[in-house]
């Protein structure tokens, strides 16, 4: 298959949320000698950008957005090892989880998925995550951002503890918080650097935080 055709195919596989096809085309691209970076920039990125555009226009819904992200991820898994400099394509490294005592993980997972789809390296620690675990992972990964979700009035305070613990540990990671009880005022009060009340906004805030 000609390179142009392969790139169009990759773009379409992302838009069709077709993980196996995206991975297969990525392998074909490498086999035909296409540089991994070209496949990403010329195929996958236009695909995910188009998905974002369709989302903005109200044509795409969450299942499609998440599906496109999945197809992108499948292709990236093939291309990543072939990239010179390994993880150089990352926008930033993120540790994310739901705080201890709280098992609500749906919103957190949605945020994690969209962050990953948008080029962040995301380490999802799951739910019921102790503060120490967030700190350890942030240190291990030299994270840019630690994201904490809380859905209960009674567990929200863990977010404050997290901000303090990261500061005490002398880590550079900034904190972004979210979840139904969390408000911008709370985020400001505990000294969190970022807040968003939905997953799409979380990506924009994360971008801003790693850039600044």
């Amino acid at each position: 298959m000609a390179h142009e055709e392969l790139l169009a195919g990759l773009r379409q596989a992302v838009l069709d949320c077709d993980e196996p096809r995206a991975a297969r085309l990525a392998r074909e691209a490498l086999d035909t000698g296409m540089p991994a970076l070209r496949a990403i920039d010329g195929g996958l990125v236009p695909g995910i950008q188009e998905a974002g555009r369709l989302w903005d226009e109200g044509e795409f819904f969450l299942p499609e957005l998440v599906g496109a992200a999945g197809a992108m991820k499948a292709a990236m898994a093939v291309l990543q090892p072939a990239l010179a400099g390994g993880g150089s394509r990352e926008l930033g490294r993120i540790v994310i989880g739901t705080v201890q005592g709280d098992i609500h993980d749906i919103g957190k997972s949605l945020v994690a998925t969209l962050l990953a789809a948008n080029g962040f390296a995301v380490s999802d620690e799951g739910a019921d995550v102790p503060v120490e675990r967030f700190v350890t992972r942030a240190r291990e990964l030299d994270a840019d951002l630690v994201c904490a979700s809380a859905l209960l009035t009674t567990t929200m305070v863990q977010q404050r503890t997290l901000v303090e613990a990261l500061r005490a540990a002398g880590l550079r990671a900034r904190v972004m918080v979210g979840g139904a009880p969390v408000t911008p005022a709370w985020a400001a009060q505990i000294g969190a650097a970022g807040f968003a009340d939905n997953a799409v906004a979380a990506v924009a805030v994360a971008r801003g935080l790693v850039r600044s």
Binding site: G58, G101, I106, L152, T153, T154, V157, P181
Partner: protein, 488 residues
Amino acid sequence: MSVLRPRVSVLTREQIEAVVADAVRTLETVGFFVENGPALELLGAAGVRLDGQRAHPSEGQLRHALATAPPRIVVYDRDGTPALDLGGDAVHFDPGSAALHVLDPVTRRRRSPTTRDLAHLAWVTEGCRHIAGGSTALVPSDVPEALGDRWRVLLALLHGRKPMATGTFQKDGFAVMHRLLAAVRGGDEALRHKPLAIFDCCPTPPLKWSDLTCQALLDCARTGVPAELVSMPLGGITSPVTVREMIVLHCAESLSGVLIHQLAGPGSPIIWGGSPASVDMRHGTTPMGAVETMLVDVGNAQVGKHLGVPTHAYMGMSDAKGLDFQCGLESGVGALLGALAGVNLIAGPGMLDFETTQSLEKLVLDNEVCGMALRAVQGVSETSAGEAVDLLRQVVEVGSFLAHPHTRAHFRQELLIPGRTIDRGSYGDWEAAGGPDAWASAHAEVQRILARGNPAPLDESLQAELLAIMTAECARLGLPGLPADPLP
């Protein structure tokens, strides 16, 4: 002569049986995951096939559990008077539970709730005649998190007579919540005999029991406090997106709950409840006002009735952010469908924004919604055939029934007389009153209720006993004393 009860159903009998069969097969083959050690032991001892922490009950084991679950539960108010009769097609309402925020009527924006808000919510609930049950519907932010669940029960007991729906946030919450309830009732056995509170117990979709909520289920079963299963398939995220499959998942999770519960306390009261939602695919939110959510709720109630257990649903709430068209639409349609479906306990009044925000003003408006739904299910009262002919013969000359004894004898039973928030006056009256909107008339009604003070003060010695229990609990948790005035 029997009266036709207006009714709504979404499943035929054959469809219900097929749903149950799918749910049973799901439990047999896929099983359910249990994080709680004691529950796993119970299941193992009862011969349920365990594969690690995954339980695979047989149909026989599930049927056996259903057979010991009572078909009817009566819940009594603080004074010991029957208040909720959960069974058959009886319908009752209680405020939607455990909101994160309260809607401030002045700013019309949400803010953090305080102990005073919770007390006021109980007062307003007392003042809503169509809302038979209470609920610990706010989580006050002015008390330490460790007290979150139990402080609410104290407040509900000090400020209201109606029985309450509540729940634990921490594993150690149940014991002291139970102690408070038993103190009011006059002992553990008296409380078992005359329940005063219902505890929500939520499985984690799909098909999992967390340590905390499973513990609540066990605690309820052992003490005879009614447990309310709150299975919440979220269509398209934690459940298949189709309405029927959501009902199947709800049935499977609820059956798993009945099994654990009845093993821990055979014959203990348990309610087939739920808070499913069909997910909004644009915002990823969990709309309680979506029509598919309501279809699932009606289906769940049909399944629960078929299996012979009392039913519950979160209906009659809205995802609007204020008291607007969407708010009235979703609350009204939900409450009416729930009542027509014969859901025994409908939790929802007052709630907005995906179950996150309580509003006292919405509560008094919803009181009218509930009144209307309850009137609707009473249907057409049976009078004797031929009565109309007689009446018309008598009156045809006069031309009006207004002065006729028949009108005086019947209008109070026949007509739902609305409260002050429903405007049936003339345009001129409305204009003269300053043209109030829903917010204004609801706020005035709330103020009227609050101005009367605590409508249900507790007997002084009991009050002292409850405060002593809470003071001891604070000491146990290392707090210097009561964190806020529970009698604001």
